[in-house]
């Protein structure tokens, strides 16, 4: 059912925009808009949504915390910093950005995890605080780096940092598609172990989970997902919080459902949010990250209070 919904949303998003297009009767100009601009953007949005939602769902189970989210943990910022470093020092070659973003995401994940882990284990507050610290620290480095950019590139970067799909290209889409498919498959394969980890790390160990290996897998693949998503579209926030939460509301907590369904629901969510971003004040555009944050921040507060 979700697949059908995704298909519907994709067609809808392709038709709607500053220039309304019926995808069945096209003029040459409309054809150019559809294939060169709108299509890579919509497809990239779908992949980015899948990446972020799957990363969020698995990090939440692993860290036993429904508030864990790549953006809030500073993982997205790690990836953003990696992307910027690649851009400033290595030029904008195709593979360097996602690779550096992957490395940045991985390092940020590791840093947050080490900081959040106390003698008495990990609690919600500690994890959120560690995320805030890593996020602000990385933000300040990003700000320092932006000072070396000229004004025109700066505006582009500011948009990109907020999460922006307007620079979508086919190569970017292909790379995120590969990451989304690989990441979803591998993380789904760990879902049964994650069901045990979600209840307690010690329980999982007692009941036969090789927790070190699962942790490494989840950190590695969620960094890959977040890294490629951020390299292509900047830090679209809160997707990893909102989507798994909605999926859990309808299916329960079994990660064998939550992880793969988050991929589909995440794709739908970001494509919809980006359609709003494109059309709300057309012909001008909003960064999609602004839309997702508008929905996500209140939800975060609600979940925190309920905890």
């Amino acid at each position: 059912m979700l697949s059908a919904a995704l298909l519907f949303v994709l067609v809808l998003a392709l038709s709607v925009g500053s220039e309304s297009i019926s995808i069945f009767e096209l003029s040459d100009q409309q054809r150019a808009i559809l294939f060169d601009i709108r299509m890579p953007r919509v497809f990239l949005g779908a992949c980015v949504g899948a990446c972020l939602a799957v990363a969020g769902a698995s990090l939440q189970a692993l860290l036993r915390n429904p508030l864990a989210e790549p953006y809030l943990l500073g993982v997205s910022n790690g990836a953003a910093l990696g992307t910027m470093l690649a851009f400033v020092f290595l030029g904008s070659s195709g593979v360097a950005k996602p690779l550096m973003a992957f490395a940045g995401a991985g390092l940020a994940t590791f840093a947050v995890y080490q900081m959040a882990r106390g003698r008495a284990g990990m609690n919600v507050e500690r994890l959120v605080l560690a995320g805030v610290i890593v996020t602000t620290f990385l933000s300040s480095i990003i700000v320092l780096l932006t000072s070396v950019l000229d004004a025109a590139r700066l505006r582009g970067f500011t948009f990109w940092l907020l999460g922006d799909l307007s620079q979508a290209t086919y190569p970017g889409f292909y790379m995120t598609l590969v990451a989304a498919v690989l990441g979803t498959l591998f993380l789904s394969s760990q879902a049964r172990a994650l069901n045990l980890m979600m209840v307690g790390e010690r329980d999982a160990l007692d009941f036969g989970v090789e927790i070190g290996r699962v942790r490494l897998m989840v950190f590695g693949f969620s960094s890959l997902l977040v890294g490629t998503a951020v390299a292509a579209s900047g830090s679209v926030g809160y997707v990893g919080l909102i989507v798994p939460h909605l999926v859990r509301l309808s299916t329960g907590s079994d990660n064998r459902l939550v992880v793969p369904l988050s991929a589909l629901a995440g794709a739908i969510f970001v494509v919809l949010a980006d359609t709003v971003a494109r059309t709300a004040i057309a012909p001008r555009e909003l960064p999609v990250g602004a839309i997702t944050a508008l929905i996500g921040a209140p939800l975060f507060i609600y979940l925190l209070r309920r905890n």
Partner: protein, 256 residues
């Protein structure tokens, strides 16, 4: 079944378990007694290799635990730890099914026989009607029984239980120990149980291991271990001992 050879466990430079040895034979219940901080929980965690040993070794049917994988250990040894809470909406049945993790592949779905084993364990623990309820809606005692049900659902031959009756009312304390004994006598399982209730220990233990400061202070059958001198030395309380008229076992009454 499970043999402990002269093990020590250290947290940093502090030895919390020192030179403990004992054997757990098929069908046997060994109860660990001792005051808070005596090392009971650490000892039980060493028995499934979830804390590293400073020295000595634990063998499971003549295999050294360190040489077995987590899955191999979990297939034979199940744990009932002290209470845990999850922030996710997990149903009781899903929680108990986690005990079947070691039987399937690491991924994929539970089979019908897994679900059957989980339901059987639930009804043994008096939780049959609770299977679709959420874990975080249960009372402490109900959750504690769900934790036992999960351990039973594993079909493991050794049960390690850390204060399984801590949150239970009188009826369910008795149910818990009856279940443990039934599994040991009827199914050839064996169990190591931590409790603070000396009378439950007297009633159900085949052997008692009394710990003090990480060392075995006394060990043997309840009638031998539960004497005035041992209890005074280990717990520093005065007790009266007589015979329980219902079972003929030792009865311990604290003098306040």
């Amino acid at each position: 079944m499970l043999e402990v050879h002269n093990i020590s466990v250290a947290y940093g430079s502090r030895l919390v378990i020192q030179s403990v040895s004992f054997a757990l034979r098929d069908g046997q219940i060994v109860v660990l007694l001792g005051p808070n901080g005596a090392g009971k929980t650490t000892l039980i965690r060493a028995l499934n290799s979830s804390v590293p040993l400073a020295s000595g070794e634990v063998t499971l049917e003549d295999n050294r635990l360190q040489e077995l994988s987590r899955r191999e250990i979990a297939r034979s040894i199940a744990v009932v730890a002290q209470e845990n809470e999850t922030k996710f909406p997990v149903t009781v049945l899903e929680f108990v099914l986690a005990g079947r993790f070691v039987h399937g592949r690491a991924f994929g779905w539970e089979t019908d026989s897994d679900v059957e084993a989980a339901r059987r364990a639930l009804s043994q623990c008096d939780l049959a009607e609770f299977s679709e309820r959420l874990m975080n809606e249960l009372s402490g005692g109900e959750r504690q029984r769900a934790v036992l049900a999960r351990a039973i659902a594993t079909d493991a031959r050794v049960l390690l239980l850390d204060e399984p009756t801590a949150n239970l009312d009188l009826a369910h304390q008795a149910l818990m120990f009856r279940l443990i004994r039934e599994r040991c006598v009827g199914h050839g399982c064996s169990a190591v149980v931590i409790t603070h209730d000396l009378n439950l220990a007297a009633e159900f233990a085949d052997e008692i291991l009394m710990l003090k400061d990480g060392k075995v202070f006394a060990s043997g059958p309840p009638a031998e271990v539960l004497n005035q001198r041992n209890i005074d030395e280990v717990y520093n309380v005065q007790v009266l001992l007589d015979e329980n008229p219902a079972s003929g076992k030792v009865r311990v009454t604290t003098v306040y």
